[in-house]
Amino acid sequence: MAGEATKALSNDVLWGGGRSPFSISYGKMMMWFFLVSDALTFSGLLVAYGFVRHATTETWPIGEEVFRALPFLTGSYPLIYVALMTAILIFSSVTMVLAVEAGHRMDKKGVVKWLFLTVIGGAFFVGSQAWEWSHFIHGSGGYITMSDGAKYWVHNDTHDTHDPANAPGFHLVKAREGHYLLPDESAHHLDHEGSLKLWNERVDYVDGANMTRNEYGPSQYANFFFFITGFHGFHVFSGVVINLIVLILVIKGVFHRRGHYEMVEKAGLYWHFVDLVWVFVFTFFYLL
């Protein structure tokens, strides 16, 4: 990067007044200050998650077991969907930095091309998150609890959770101790009659996820999922809107007339920050 920041200036000149000692424009500096405060907010959320998870004595759900579905496919693909979302966001970050680079060369066509791809990537990410939320809320069938504390997973062909016992293919599978989502390996799928008998003797049925209970683990697990990924998703959504507005201004030639594309750079800082937060959410919420 060229410009004032790369010039070797003595402290007397830098701090002598009449200029910014940081060699950075007001707008960029304020964007950085905002990002620091936003980073503190997200860190607070992730640290709170770590606190609850470390303090709890209940079994905490495992990321690979909760997030292992792909749209339109059956079977188990641990974390593949989340990894795809991460890849989409990282690549939209790359297109953003390429838009900033094109701006530094006053290459309007390049800025439009890369910024447009960034908007598309961001929109894909928000859409993916909507699917993941939907899948998380609906769950995979839920489980019933018996009076002796034993848990059974509920299966049926149509993934009906309102009246699962009357849905075709209804049967139960014993859940494995210490895992919320995996069936007991030694247990076979119970037959229809035995399943119905257990179903009628159930003391509790939990399916999907809401703010008070969920089929994955302690209620805080879903609460943190909704809050952290929701807060981040809202940032992505605002980022897409901001990028779109900047893109329209670029197309109208506003920044070209101004003589520099710093607005793309500032929007880019925010967009990279959103990517940065997701890197941490990915590690601390999904992987660990």
Partner: protein, 122 residues
Amino acid sequence: MERDDIIEYSLDAHHSEEAGRKIRRKIWMVTLVMAVITTVEVALGAYWKEWFPSSWEAVKLGYIVLTLVKAYLIVSIFMHLGDERRNVRSIILLPYALFILYLLFIAIWESNYVNMMLEQFQ
């Protein structure tokens, strides 16, 4: 209104076609590194745990290290903080580090205690 008493830093952030080619090569290199890191992370999560369950704690530490590497690349290269003056880097990173290191310390310390109490009295 144009003011001529302020240096317009935004105006001289431009670079030449030659410098741009160099920067783009750097960007694609960083992209490659980050893609590899993410792939490794997912592969570790999906397969390593089943094959070598005893080393899982070490893998978790590795995750944190890899995440910090990615964070460094994003902040330093994509956000250009590495290209700014040292005093800019300091005023951004030091206040953040001050708060978060303390927050981490207090959260780990206190959650240990809460966990101990729950184990004892629940």
